[in-house]
Structure formats: structure tokens, C-alpha cells
Amino acid sequence: MKSAAALLVSTCVITSLTAQSPDPRDAPPSEDRLLHTAVPDIPLTTASGARATLSQIARGKPLVVGFVFTRCPGVCSPFLMSWRTADRALGEKHTYVRLVLSFDPRDTSTDMSNLARHQALDDNDEWTFAVADPKDVRRLADATGFWWAWDESRQQFDHPALLAGIRDGRMVRIFVGGSITTARLDEFVREASGEFVRSYPLPGRVRCRCVRDDLATGRTTLDWGFVLLLVPLAATGVGTLVMFAAGARVRGKE
């Protein structure tokens, strides 16, 4: 018995010692664990060489941060272009601060200035391109769910395309994905601004909906799943009648 217990304990210990920490690349960042957490107010150097903290750049407005690196041969450029296109489509609808931050220690203010020019955003005051001390970038990344890892075989960083929505120094939303549609950016910024935004499940996957909520008209209509809400009432009604009928038979026999 003792040896069995010892074996069990040692197995648990060995398992726990050899267990690998989960690889962040296995799943997208979990927004649930980030919401409302405080974001460090890190110092930044903008593309123009000016020094400012994150809160100074935000100026009390909602702040949306995108992480890129200028030598990226992959998602960074299309991601940034997609953000810019969606942002232009929204026009003057929202007042928010856009920050593009490099996570690559090799990037300089000049590199970020060139990137801004490449994206035709260098003359746009609403956009800030910046670099920061690697330790500070790491702190901000940890708070926003962003990660990166050097891929030796491809000689580039592996990283998600991520936007972090920050309001009053706290995380409000994250967006993960290389392509940003106007509608999604609109929702993202509205929520980052403190507005309540309806969210919808992915179409076609949910069965037995109790209501259908039309995004365009705002109308809700009953769906087949609503019948399941009536099951408890109906089943209990029938069950009660059956029980009292059975009780009547017993009384009849007595």
C-alpha cells in the first residue's frame, strides 16, 4: 500500500516537473483574462523623436494599439493597411488615438517614421508611430495579450496580428486577426469608447436558438428553441395530472 502511494506521489511530482508551460502560439490571446486589467503607462519615443508616455499619447481618449515590426515580411503591412482602410471608411465617426508600436528592439524612430510614410500616415496627427524600451514593450505586451517569438528557421518574428483597446489605462477589448473590416473596427472603437455593443455568435453554428435578433433592424423574433423553454411547464403540468390521476385510483381502491 505504502509503495503504491509512493509511486503515485512520485509520478505526480515527475509529471509536474516535466510539464511544459503552455505555448501561447497554440491559441489566440484570451480576452476574458485581460479585460479591465491595468495597462502600464510606459514611456515611448515617437517617430518624430518626441518622448511621451502612453497616457500622454492617449490624452484621455480611447487608445487603440497595434504591434508591428518594420522588417516584417508577413502580416504587419497588410494588417496595418487593413486597419488604415477601415479607419478611413469610418471617417470622422469616432475620436480615438491610434498607436502603432514596434516590438522589435532593432527598430528605431527613423524606421517607424519610414513605415508611417510607407502607409501614407506620416502627415496624419491621429496616428502615432513609436518605439519603446524592450522591457517596457514586454510589459505592455503582457498586459494586452500580445506575444512574439523569434523563428530561427525563417529569421523573423512569429506573432499574432492584434489590436488592443485601452480606456483610462485599462484593457477594454482585443482584436485578433490580420484583416480588419470596417464593421468590426466600428464595434471595436465603440466598445473602447465605453459604448455598449451587441455581440453575436458565429452564424450557422448555434442550434435551438430561442430568439433571432436581427442586427439590421434590431427586431427580435421567437425561434424554435423557445419551445424548449415551455418543456418544464408542459412536462410538469402533464406529470401533475398523471400523479393526481394515480392518487385518485389509490383513493378509489381504499
Binding site: R209, T220, L233, F244
Partner: protein, 492 residues
């Protein structure tokens, strides 16, 4: 020779009563053990919110919040069922074996819940709202979720059998129209149906409806987990979850009220007869209780507006027949009577008043315009702790003391009665006041640690610790006094 041997034939009813009493005492003793343990979990939560347990991980806070909530709801539901079944035995004959089956199912469920929460750190809250149990973010393992649903399934089967057996026991003696007292509405007074039969019939029908809702949830969740490509509608599951949860809590309160109707007249010296008002009130409750849960879904934008209106109306209206009629009748029954103020009668009376206070707070919160501000604040635990702890729990504890004192013949000690009432009253309402004040100040509920923006919550939590300590002293004295009577009654 025949005269030398005396054969005593005990009447069947006595053997039956002894068996029913025994199983009820086992339920009561179990409740007396679990109550302080679950209360201490609540104390731990408030201690962490006070900032005195910096080493306690927030994940553990949510695990014990889940165990405390599910445990307390389940504990007082089964305690209410056990006490009601022994009170009903004066009129009908429930099956003792079914009570034992329910006991076994409950104990099995409790073990699974302990494993899920204390070992697995499951932190889904007492409402285990879908899809949270399946999205732990690495906080708890999948087996903890499986353990929770297994516990719910096992306890659900036991409780369904128990409720059905009690309803069937009523059905064996009364027609449905009589069990619901409909003949009183047409002016007839025979057959005489005591209020406890009418309230119990309403309650068991409600319990069964709630448990059927739980079955639907379990089936839908099982289909999703074991099927392929099926995703549940979160709004549908939320409706079903609160249909079940709100029903169980509501019905537990009605068990307490049924006890008041049955036991309080013993102390007032006046009978509490059924009349058309009582019948109308409780039949209306049966209708409204099916929709009252809707106030839990005010925050769900996709819920149709007419259901939100139905939720507010039923939440308002249900307080009239159930609470106002009972509270008014209690006052009429006590006023001018030769009331014997003993521990059971004081607890029953205070329980009705606690129900009234908690009910007012609940009605305030069920107002849509108020709910948008209060719903996620400590106002919510304030109101449900009021009508639960200072309402139905006092009613059940008062009735239990009445039963065990009667069975054990151990006389009540006046000084201890005053101590219990004083400590429970001051401790209980002091503890609740801190919840209410924090709720009004906008302190959010379900926060393990208060951030700087709501630091005022820490102060209220710290003050509440004093009151919880006073409350626990009173509860422990009660448990000691009741426990020794219970053991004496059990041994005899």
C-alpha cells in the same frame, strides 16, 4: 398459557412515523454540520475582500464562492424538504425510502461538488452559467466541470424522486382541485385542507418544473459535449438556468412559509385556517412563479421586450400574494394573541419579517430602471442574503428547534434563547447592512479583491467581519442546543 405472553402490536403509523422522524433527524444533523462549514466559506470570502488574506489566490475565492452558493442553496432546499415532509406526515404519508434515496444522492452530489471546487478550483458561481464551465481559461480542469454536471444530475434525480413522492403522497389523499383549495373559492369549506397542503402542492409543482428545466440543460449540454458541430444558444441556456435556479430558491422560501403556517399557530393559540384569500394567493403564486425568473435576464439585449415586461410584472405581482398575504396574516395571527415567545416562534416571526425586508429589496432590484444600476453590485447578495439567511433559514431553524424540542423533551433555556436571537439578529443584520451600503456605493459583486476605484468595498467588508463573527457565535450556540436535542431524540 396464552395470557402469559403479551404480544405488543405497534400500530403501523407509529413505525412509519418513527422511520420518517429518523430520516428527518439525519437530514437535520447533516444540515447542522454543513451550515457552519459553508458559512465559514462565506467568512473567508469577506476576509479576502477585506484585504486580510493577500496570499489567497482569486481563483480560490471563486471556487469557494461556487461551493458556498451552490452549497447553501442546496442545503436549505433539502433541509426545507425534509422538515416539510415530516410536517406533512400529519396529513399524508410520504415514502421514507425515497427520502433516504434523496439523502444518498445529495451526499454523492456534495462529494462531487467538493472535489470540483476545492480540488479542481471550479469557479463558475452557483448559477454555472453556460458557456463559462467549458471555458475555464486554464483555471480549472475539464474533469471539474464534468464533476459539477454529474453532481447536478445525481442530486437532480434524487430531488425529483423526492418531490414527486411528496406530491404523490398528497395526491393519494386529495384531489388536485382540493389540494389547491379551489373549493374554497366557490365558498365551500369542506373538505378542510390545511394551508401546508396547498402551499406544498404549489411548491412541489414548482420544484418539479424547475428540475425539468435542469434536465433540459443537462441534455443540451451533453449533446454539445458528446455530439459534433452542435453549439448551444447561450440565451436559451441562461433562461433555463434561472428558471431552475430561481425556482429552487423561491420554492425553498415557500417551504419556510408553509412551516410558519403550520407551526406558528402552536404558539399563538389561534388556528391558521385556510380561506379563499389564502387559496387565491397561493394559486396566483403557482402561476406567477413560472415567470418571475425573467428578471434575471434584464441585461440580455436579445431577450424580447415582452418577456422583460413579463419579468417585471410577475416579479412585482408575486410579492403581493406570497409575501403580503403571509406577512399581514402573520401580524394578524400574533396581534392580541396569547403568544408564547419561545425560540421557534421568535425565529419564525423574525423569518417572516426578514422575508419582508429582503422582499422589498428584491422588488427594488427587479425594477428594470434600478436593475441597470444595481444588478452587478453588492445590493444583489444583500437582498438574497436577507430573505434567505434572515428569512427562510430562520423559519427552517425555528421549525427544526420546535420539532427536536418536542421529540427530545429537553426544555428550552430562556437565557440561551435571548443570546441566540440577539447574536443572530445583530450579527445577521449588521452583516447585511454592509452589503447594502456597499451596493448603494456601487461596489461590484463577485470581486475577490477590490481595485482602487471601489476601495470603499474593502472597508465595508472589514466591518462585516465583526458582524459575521457575532452571527457565527449565535449560530454555533443554536447548533449546539439543537444538535444535542437532535441526538437525544435520535437515540430515543
Amino acid at each position: 398459557m396464552a395470557n402469559d405472553t403479551v404480544t405488543i402490536v405497534m400500530p403501523e403509523v407509529d413505525v412509519y412515523t418513527a422511520r420518517l422522524t429518523r430520516v428527518t433527524l439525519v437530514w437535520v444533523l447533516t444540515a447542522l454540520v454543513l451550515f457552519p462549514v459553508l458559512a465559514i466559506l462565506g467568512l473567508l470570502m469577506r476576509t479576502e475582500q477585506s484585504g486580510f488574506l493577500p496570499g489567497m489566490a482569486p481563483e480560490f475565492f471563486y471556487a469557494i464562492m461556487t461551493l458556498h452558493g451552490l452549497g447553501m442553496v442546496g442545503l436549505w432546499f433539502v433541509a426545507g424538504m425534509a422538515v416539510i415532509s415530516v410536517l406533512l406526515a400529519s396529513y399524508v404519508k410520504p415514502t421514507t425510502a425515497v427520502s433516504w434515496i434523496a439523502y444518498g444522492a445529495t451526499l454523492t452530489g456534495v462529494v462531487l461538488l467538493l472535489a470540483a471546487t476545492l480540488v479542481g478550483r471550479l469557479g463558475v458561481g452557483w448559477y454555472f452559467l453556460y458557456p463559462l464551465p467549458f471555458h475555464s481559461g486554464g483555471t480549472w480542469p475539464a474533469w471539474a466541470t464534468a464533476s459539477l454536471f454529474a453532481a447536478l444530475a445525481i442530486m437532480g434525480v434524487g430531488w425529483t424522486l423526492w418531490s414527486a413522492d411528496l406530491l404523490l403522497a398528497i395526491a393519494r389523499r386529495y384531489r388536485l382541485s382540493h389540494a389547491l383549495g379551489w373549493h374554497y373559492l366557490s365558498g365551500a369549506t369542506t373538505p378542510d385542507v390545511p394551508p401546508i397542503i396547498i402551499i406544498s402542492t404549489v411548491s412541489f409543482i414548482g420544484v418539479l418544473a424547475g428540475l425539468v428545466a435542469a434536465v433540459v440543460i443537462l441534455v443540451l449540454v451533453a449533446v454539445e459535449q458528446f455530439g459534433s458541430g452542435f453549439t448551444n444558444d447561450a440565451l436559451l441556456i441562461k433562461n433555463l438556468t434561472f428558471y431552475f435556479g430561481h425556482m429552487v430558491v423561491n420554492i425553498t422560501m415557500y417551504f419556510g412559509v408553509a412551516m410558519v403556517y403550520e407551526v406558528l399557530p402552536t404558539y399563538t393559540g389561534r388556528p391558521w385556517k385556510t380561506n379563499s384569500l389564502v387559496v387565491f394567493a397561493w394559486n396566483l403564486v403557482l402561476l406567477l412563479v413560472m415567470f418571475a425568473y425573467l428578471h434575471h435576464l434584464y441585461m440580455d439585449f436579445a431577450q424580447p421586450r415582452w418577456l422583460q415586461v413579463a419579468g417585471q410584472l410577475s416579479s412585482y405581482l408575486i410579492s403581493v400574494p406570497a409575501a403580503v398575504v403571509t406577512i399581514f396574516s402573520t401580524l394578524v395571527l400574533v396581534y392580541g394573541s396569547t403568544m408564547r415567545w419561545r425560540l421557534p416562534s421568535v425565529m419564525l416571526f423574525l423569518g417572516v419579517m426578514g422575508w419582508a425586508i429582503g422582499g422589498v429589496a428584491a422588488v427594488i432590484d427587479s425594477t428594470v430602471a434600478v436593475n441597470t444600476r444595481f444588478h452587478n453590485t453588492l445590493w444583489v447578495p444583500a437582498h438574497f442574503h436577507t430573505y434567505f439567511l434572515m428569512g427562510v433559514v430562520l423559519m427552517i431553524l425555528g421549525t427544526v428547534f420546535h420539532l427536536v424540542t418536542d421529540l427530545s423533551k429537553v426544555p428550552e433555556r430562556s437565557a440561551l434563547t435571548k443570546t441566540i436571537v440577539g447574536t443572530v439578529g445583530v450579527g445577521g443584520y449588521g452583516f447585511l447592512l454592509m452589503f447594502y451600503l456597499a451596493g448603494v456605493a456601487g461596489v461590484p459583486r463577485r470581486y475577490a479583491v477590490y481595485p482602487a476605484e471601489v476601495a470603499v468595498g474593502t472597508g465595508y467588508a472589514q466591518i462585516s467581519l465583526i458582524f459575521i463573527a457575532v452571527l457565527l457565535i449565535g449560530a454555533l450556540i443554536y447548533i449546539w442546543e439543537t444538535g444535542r436535542r437532535c441526538l437525544k431524540a435520535f437515540s430515543s
